[in-house]
């Protein structure tokens, strides 16, 4: 099933949770809603599931307005961040719940329920735990039960709210790989919410980055990493150095750096900022253009990379990351002054008047 969201708005008291949000999810896609806390991503997911009402806007399932449909008729499987398992039921009964509460006419017979639940427990690799209670399971196991329970009703869409948020790093890694395989197998249209960029990039075919109730960017993982649409996306997806300056006559003047900027060929100057990730900067002892320099204040060996912190002439820090081999060539030490050469700078103009 495809989902289309058009112009959603939602306000909680004085807090604008969603502000004119539109996007669509194609059949079989695995989409990540990525953003910091308070960005409205969970609210968005809950509105799609029908657990929350939007103040304005529509949600279309396969082109049909879902507003009239009760959450239990939407064909949506929802996996909660804290699992929301039924504590008084065994794992088996948890998974069987959605089948047992069907109207009598549509309810499968007991043997069919057993077959189906066991099949799902097999799918989530928990078939040996059917008679346990949720309190006897680990976090990762509970999450998989929650998933099996959501899948039992054969939803047309799977919605997951911070599915791995409450788990420790190792289990999280494992479940991520597992969910990826599972999605490849059953190809169910899925949307998950996360504040972990790594998770979003690794798992999703498409990422929607949200901030303060608005969509900042909607694109493939590669898009948002390589071509961030806004400074926010750039900032949110990892560490970044900022160089302030202005653009004028097709050139960006950022401190000592002068870069071509054909997007603004006009004569009036506009404030702008350039952004470079630490690994997009090189260090050299000779000034071969640009003239940006800094004093090394810290060097840390961090596994495969070496992390430098430099202080420029304004004494504001610049972060640089070099590979081991590059580092072997330069071997800059603390206190030494070196030139910084950006291999790549992304320039964004500030809003006029901003």
């Amino acid at each position: 099933m495809s989902i289309e969201v058009k112009g959603l708005r939602k306000r909680f008291g004085g807090f604008q949770a969603l502000d004119d949000v539109s996007f669509s999810v194609g059949q079989g896609e695995l989409l990540a809603l990525l953003g910091p806390s308070g960005s409205g991503k969970t609210t968005l997911l809950r509105i799609i599931a029908g657990l929350e009402h939007a103040d304005a806007g529509t949600v279309l399932f396969d082109g049909h307005d879902a507003a009239a449909r009760h959450p239990r008729e939407r064909g949506v499987g929802f996996v909660f961040q804290h699992y929301a398992l039924f504590r008084h039921m065994t794992v088996f009964e948890n998974v069987a719940f959605g089948l047992r509460v069907r109207p009598r006419a549509e309810r499968p017979v007991e043997s069919e329920i057993r077959r189906k639940v066991n099949e799902l427990l097999g799918l989530v690799q928990l078939d040996y735990l059917g008679s346990r209670y949720p309190s006897q399971l680990s976090g990762g196991q509970r999450q998989r039960v929650a998933l099996a329970r959501a899948l039992a009703v054969e939803p047309k869409v799977l919605l997951l709210d911070e599915p791995f948020g409450a788990l420790d790093a190792r289990v999280r890694q494992e479940l991520r790989r597992w969910l990826r395989r599972l999605h490849a197998e059953i190809h169910l249209t899925s949307v998950f919410v996360t504040h972990d960029q790594e998770e979003a990039l690794e798992l999703a075919n498409r990422v929607v980055v949200m901030n303060e109730g608005r969509i900042e960017q909607d694109g493939t993982p590669d898009d948002v990493v390589e071509h961030p649409a806004t400074p926010f996306v750039l900032n949110f997806l990892g560490q970044v150095n900022i160089f302030h300056g202005r653009v004028q006559d097709g050139t960006a003047w950022l401190g000592p750096l002068a870069l071509e900027y054909p997007e603004h060929p006009h004569t009036e100057a506009r404030t702008a900022a350039g952004y470079s990730r630490p690994h997009e900067l090189d260090i050299s002892r000779s000034d071969d253009g640009g003239g940006l320099w800094g004093t090394v204040s810290d060097v840390r060996m961090a596994g495969a990379v070496v992390k430098f912190e430099l202080l420029d002439d304004q004494r504001s820090p610049i972060q640089v990351e070099l590979g081991r081999e590059q580092y072997a060539q330069i071997r800059a030490i603390i206190g030494e002054s070196v030139y910084v050469k950006p291999r790549r700078v992304r320039v964004f103009m500030q809003e006029p008047g901003g």
Binding site: S37, G38, R46, G50, L51, H53, Q81, H195
Partner: protein, 298 residues
């Protein structure tokens, strides 16, 4: 957790995820009718009956010497029982929550015991102990000490029935506070009593007040246990609740309700203070709200 809770502001759940309005209104009406019939109506009745013959009759009934004597005795019993129970509660709380020892659960169950015993039995055991045919009766008579059918018996019975309240409220609060703060104080060089008065007491003061109020309400209102040990000698061994009974049995209804209204007023004050303290406790520790007081007056 924080991610989750800030992302989704608290709001009323979607309408169709709650009961339909008709059901909501119906249930509210049923609940309110039930509570009005059993709580509000008796409350109103007490005051209407008390003032039924005018303010002058009311004042006369309340100011009657025997009523005043009963009031004095009630206050005396509470003034002894409540402090005694406070001291006990703090001691028991300290021993039970700050140390680990075998039989901890047995001890907490024993403290709850007076709640499980009928007030009539609570009074009766003191008659069996100190009465003329009692185990210690002959000894008491020899030494000229009157306990049963006298003030000491009333005080003892009052202590018995009001005894678990403080400990019961204090223990969960102290349990939740843990021992780290006290240990820190000790490491910083505080003495035992300094630690208690400067660290422990400020942490438990609301719980202590709460338990004290409940204990006091029970002490002043006790009927069954006191009735058994008192002998109901007018002006001597009569507490306010017993005085209400005597007046009622003499068909002095208006006077009975006038005295009862004093006790009802006390109950209302108890409820107000309880509500205020409960909110305080709620603010102080959202998680460790003391469980509902599970016993009342006898």
């Amino acid at each position: 957790m924080s991610v989750h809770s800030t992302d989704r502001r608290p709001s009323q759940p979607v309408r169709h995820l709650s009961e339909p309005p008709v059901v909501r209104w119906g249930l509210t009406a049923v609940a309110l009718a039930f509570l009005a019939l059993f709580l509000l109506l008796p409350l109103v009745t007490v005051f209407l009956e008390a003032f039924g013959h005018g303010v002058r009759a009311y004042l006369a009934a309340v100011a009657e010497p025997e009523a005043l004597a009963a009031l004095r005795l009630t206050l005396l019993a509470a003034a002894i029982a409540v402090p005694a129970n406070l001291v006990f509660g703090v001691c028991a709380g300290w021993a039970i929550t700050k140390f680990e020892f075998p039989g901890r659960n047995v001890l907490t169950t024993l403290i709850d015991l007076p709640f499980a015993v009928s007030p009539v039995i609570a009074g009766m055991v003191f008659v069996l102990l100190f009465g003329r045919q009692g185990f210690l009766g002959p000894w008491a008579a020899e030494h000229g000490v009157r306990i049963v059918f006298a003030v000491p018996g009333i005080v003892l019975a009052t202590i018995f029935v009001s005894f678990p309240f403080v400990a019961r409220e204090i223990i969960p609060v102290m349990e939740a506070a843990g021992t780290q703060e006290e240990e820190a104080a000790r490491v910083l060089g505080a003495g035992g009593f300094q630690t208690f008065f400067r660290v422990t007491l400020p942490n438990i003061k609301w719980g202590l007040l709460y338990g004290g109020i409940l204990s006091n309400a029970r002490a002043m209102g006790e009927f069954g246990a006191v009735s058994v040990v008192s002998g109901k000698i007018r002006g001597l061994t009569n507490t306010l609740p017993l005085h209400v009974e005597i007046l009622y049995n003499e068909y002095a209804f208006q006077a009975a309700f006038a005295v009862a209204s004093l006790l009802t007023f006390l109950a209302l004050v108890t409820l107000v203070v309880k509500t205020v303290v409960e909110r305080r406790l709620g603010v102080a520790s959202e998680e460790t709200r003391p469980e509902a007081a599970v016993a009342g007056t006898g």
